[in-house]
């Protein structure tokens, strides 16, 4: 056992070099508002936790995965059947990816409905939207990596849609595929995006996002603020450390339990190895988070007036994404007040569209 004096000296040595007292002081003063909607504050942390799980399991998968058309499927099969706990690592990686996108969506809609995007948090919102886009890009690029039939044809359809954009479409599709068709070059490229480009970008934007959250503190819903002002009572708060942190830790454990259960009871399927010369099997559809767009494209006729249906849908999706990303800017009127009804209405409409069309895309 170390003596008290030795421990104090060690702590002092570390404090001098790491500034532990300052960090402790900062954590002691950081507080989280407590109100009826506090529960939604946990979803950002859960998304971050799932991202960390993704990084860790991804690194483990990298030890065995080989990104070539001749070896990719077999290497994943090897991970699933021969590598000790390989099935668990891969299943957790795949399930965590899906759960992360789900919690990211929940986090985004909670920010919308709690109006947490408002001044001065516009850049926090924008960086969050970029992170969501990066998460979707992670999903799209990772989907192809096992090189199975469904993934192959879904990527083919996805890149074909990109190719239909006027002007930029064909070069963009060629850039994504590394050629005119989905093939070995696409796999290598998607692997590169998935394990190098996207993680790098995500880490960078994530740091900006967290720094902005830190700078502006946790937002309180306008209604709670008004109620507090009306009553003349300050909004209750809890210390971030350890109170909120321990609760967040509980949420992470809960997420880990859900993740482990899904991975153990429903291990992620491997499917059948992709055969580029085989006809596309029936019922090809993308991952659930692209189903709404997929179903919209399916519903549209091939031509609407003089426009191609696909192109029209792409223009629509792009405009919707831009409109949504600029939410903090159109959500405030000239007097600087939040158009809460408009924003809530837009949020409900988007949520209804995404959930209804995703369900229709899944079942029809």
């Amino acid at each position: 056992m170390l003596s008290v004096e030795t421990r104090q000296r060690a702590a002092s040595w570390l404090d001098e070099r790491l500034g532990l007292t300052a960090i402790g002081e900062f954590l002691r003063h950081k507080a989280v508002p407590v109100h009826s909607a506090t529960i939604w504050y946990y979803f950002g942390g859960i998304t971050l936790f799932l991202f960390v799980i993704q990084v860790l399991t991804g690194i483990l998968l990298l030890l065995y995965y080989r990104p070539t058309p001749t070896e990719a499927f077999e290497s994943v099969q090897f991970i699933m059947t021969r590598v000790e706990f390989g099935w668990l690592v891969r299943s957790i990686h795949s399930w965590a990816a899906n759960l992360m996108i789900l919690t990211a969506f929940i986090h985004m809609f909670s920010v919308v409905f709690l109006h947490a995007y408002r001044r001065p948090r516009e850049l926090t919102w924008l960086s969050g939207i970029v992170l969501l886009g990066l998460a979707l890009a992670f999903g799209f690029s990772g989907y192809l990596l096992p090189w199975n039939t469904v993934a192959y044809f879904a990527t083919k359809v996805g890149t074909d849609i990109a190719a239909s954009l006027p002007g930029i479409g064909p070069p963009l599709a060629r850039f994504l595929r590394g050629g005119d068709e989905v093939g070995g070059a696409t796999l290598t490229r998607f692997f590169g995006f998935h394990v190098a480009v996207l993680p790098g970008l995500t880490t960078l934007v994530l740091l900006v996002h967290l720094a902005l959250v830190q700078k502006h503190g946790i937002s309180v819903p306008p209604k709670v603020e008004q109620e507090s002002r009306r009553r003349g009572v300050p909004i209750p708060q809890m210390p971030f450390f350890p109170n909120f942190f321990l609760r967040e830790l509980m949420a992470w454990y809960g997420a880990l339990g859900v993740l482990g259960s899904l991975a153990a009871i429903f291990p992620w399927e491997l499917g059948v190895k992709a055969d580029p010369f085989a006809p596309a099997p029936a019922g090809i559809r993308p991952e659930w988070y692209f189903l709404a767009e997929f179903y919209t494209l399916k519903l549209l006729p091939s031509h609407v007036w003089i426009f191609e249906g696909e192109l029209l849908a792409l223009i629509g999706f792009t405009l919707l994404a831009v409109f949504w990303a600029l939410l903090p800017f159109w959500a405030t009127n000239r007097q600087g007040e939040i158009r809460t009804r408009l924003v809530t209405g837009a949020g409900v409409a988007l949520l209804a569209y995404l959930s209804t069309f995703s369900a229709l895309g899944y079942w029809r």
């Binding site: 099935w87 321990l246 609760r247 830790l249 809960g254 339990g257 259960s261 153990a264």
Partner: protein
């Protein structure tokens, strides 16, 4: 100028006259049997290639006057006698240079084959009731064999043959049975053709020939079946049965499988009540015992294959990755096929060898399925332990939070 106009008008009239087919023009406005050819001919392959009625019936289609257009002096032949139809068709269809203009890959030996056929021989003997070209190919609406509406299209051919051969009254004079089509419709070949739409499945012409239609003789049955079942023919010809069957005048394959009513083969043909071996072998003979043993081996492999497939299926439904074992199951399935084929060597060892190879694979697959299910159970136990640990930790955290947030000095 006037001269040029007159020449142009004359040329136009000549072209129009040459393009006209007054046969069709007149017959189209007639009624009943006289109108029917004109209506049907629109869909005829010959019409599409520019041939008019006169190509077969002679006459002059450029004139409106029926006396002239149907004048024997202008080559009008009228209705073609049934005994003359084949020769008339052969006039063009046996002419290689002419046929090459329309279809370079078109065969030109149909008539040469036809005259050797039973149909052709009877026609040559003056039997006008015997089948000729138009009985199978239709008349006035002849279509390409690839056209699914053609009576000689593979899917329709059996019915076309049955049109005459299932007609008891028509066949009575020839003293041949009329149940071939009814039997064929119960066969595995019909199932493949009609139910699965497999155009390569055998129908009447596959065994009897088409233009040279003749029933296969005793000596040629094996060769006929062997055109598709190559390996079976090879095994049978090397088997001890071949010389025995030949010496007894028994027609190879059909002794066991029948001819028109070829049923789906099964191990039941080797042993038991439905045993075809029992037709010749006494129940206590070594032949019957060998047959029974072959049936047992094949049934054993089939049962083992079903058992291991069910086990792998169960494991796969549980989310376990067993695709490698499932791929190996295909090898066991191939071994089963090989064993069934090997029956035709009529040697027990020839059947035993693939069966044993197949059984080895199914045993491995079964073990892989069992191992996968055991692994699934281990995972579930591991999950339960992890969940309990997580719950305990969460409870601990909750208690820690409660302890931290306990009001100072509170009860």
């Amino acid at each position: 100028m006037r001269r040029a106009l007159a020449v142009a008008a004359a040329a136009g009239w000549l072209l129009e006259a040459a393009a006209r087919d007054t046969c069709l023009e007149c017959h189209a406005v007639l009624e009943g049997a006289l109108q029917r050819p004109a209506v049907l001919y629109k869909a005829d392959v010959h019409a599409r290639h520019g041939f008019g009625c006169a190509a077969c019936h002679g006459g002059d289609p450029s004139t409106d006057d029926p006396k002239l257009s149907m004048s024997p002096a202008r080559g009008f032949r009228g209705k073609i006698a049934r005994t003359a139809i084949a020769k008339l068709c052969a006039h063009c269809h046996s002419d290689a240079s002419l046929m090459h203009k329309y279809n370079p890959r078109q065969r030109v030996d149909q008539y040469a084959q036809y005259v050797t056929s039973v149909h052709g021989q009877r026609i040559a003997q003056g039997d006008a009731a015997a089948a000729t070209c138009t009985d199978c190919h239709s008349v006035h609406d002849i279509r390409n064999v690839k056209d699914s509406r053609a009576p000689v299209h593979p899917l329709r051919l059996p019915e076309t043959c049955a049109h005459c051969h299932a007609d008891a009254q028509r066949m009575a004079r020839y003293g041949i049975p009329t149940d071939q089509f009814a039997k064929y419709r119960r066969s595995v070949h019909w199932e493949a053709l009609a139910e699965r739409g497999d155009l390569s499945a055998p129908s009447c012409a596959s065994c009897h020939g088409n233009h040279g239609a003749t029933p296969p003789g005793v000596a040629s049955v094996t060769a006929v079946c062997g055109t598709c079942h190559v390996l079976l023919e090879e095994l049978f010809n090397k088997s001890p049965h071949q010389p025995v069957f030949a010496s007894m005048g028994m027609a190879g394959c059909i002794v066991c499988h029948g001819n028109h009513e070829v049923m789906r083969p099964s191990p039941a043909m080797l042993a038991g009540e439905k045993s075809v071996c029992a037709q010749c072998h006494d129940p206590d003979s070594s032949g019957a015992k060998a047959g029974a043993e072959m049936a047992r081996l094949i049934n054993q492999l089939r049962a083992s294959l079903e058992r291991s497939s069910a086990m792998l299926e169960r494991a796969a439904r549980s989310g376990m990755e067993v695709s490698e074992a499932q791929i190996r199951q295909q090898e066991a399935q191939e071994a089963l096929v090989k064993a069934r084929v090997a029956v035709h060597a009529f040697r027990l060892e020839a059947v035993r060898e693939p069966v044993e190879a197949g059984l080895k694979i199914t045993a491995e697959s079964y073990r892989a399925g069992v191992a996968a299910l055991e692994e699934r159970n281990r995972r579930r136990i591991g999950l339960a332990v992890s969940l309990v640990t997580i719950l305990v930790t969460m409870t601990g955290l909750w208690m820690a939070i409660r302890a931290i947030e306990k009001p100072v000095g509170g009860s």
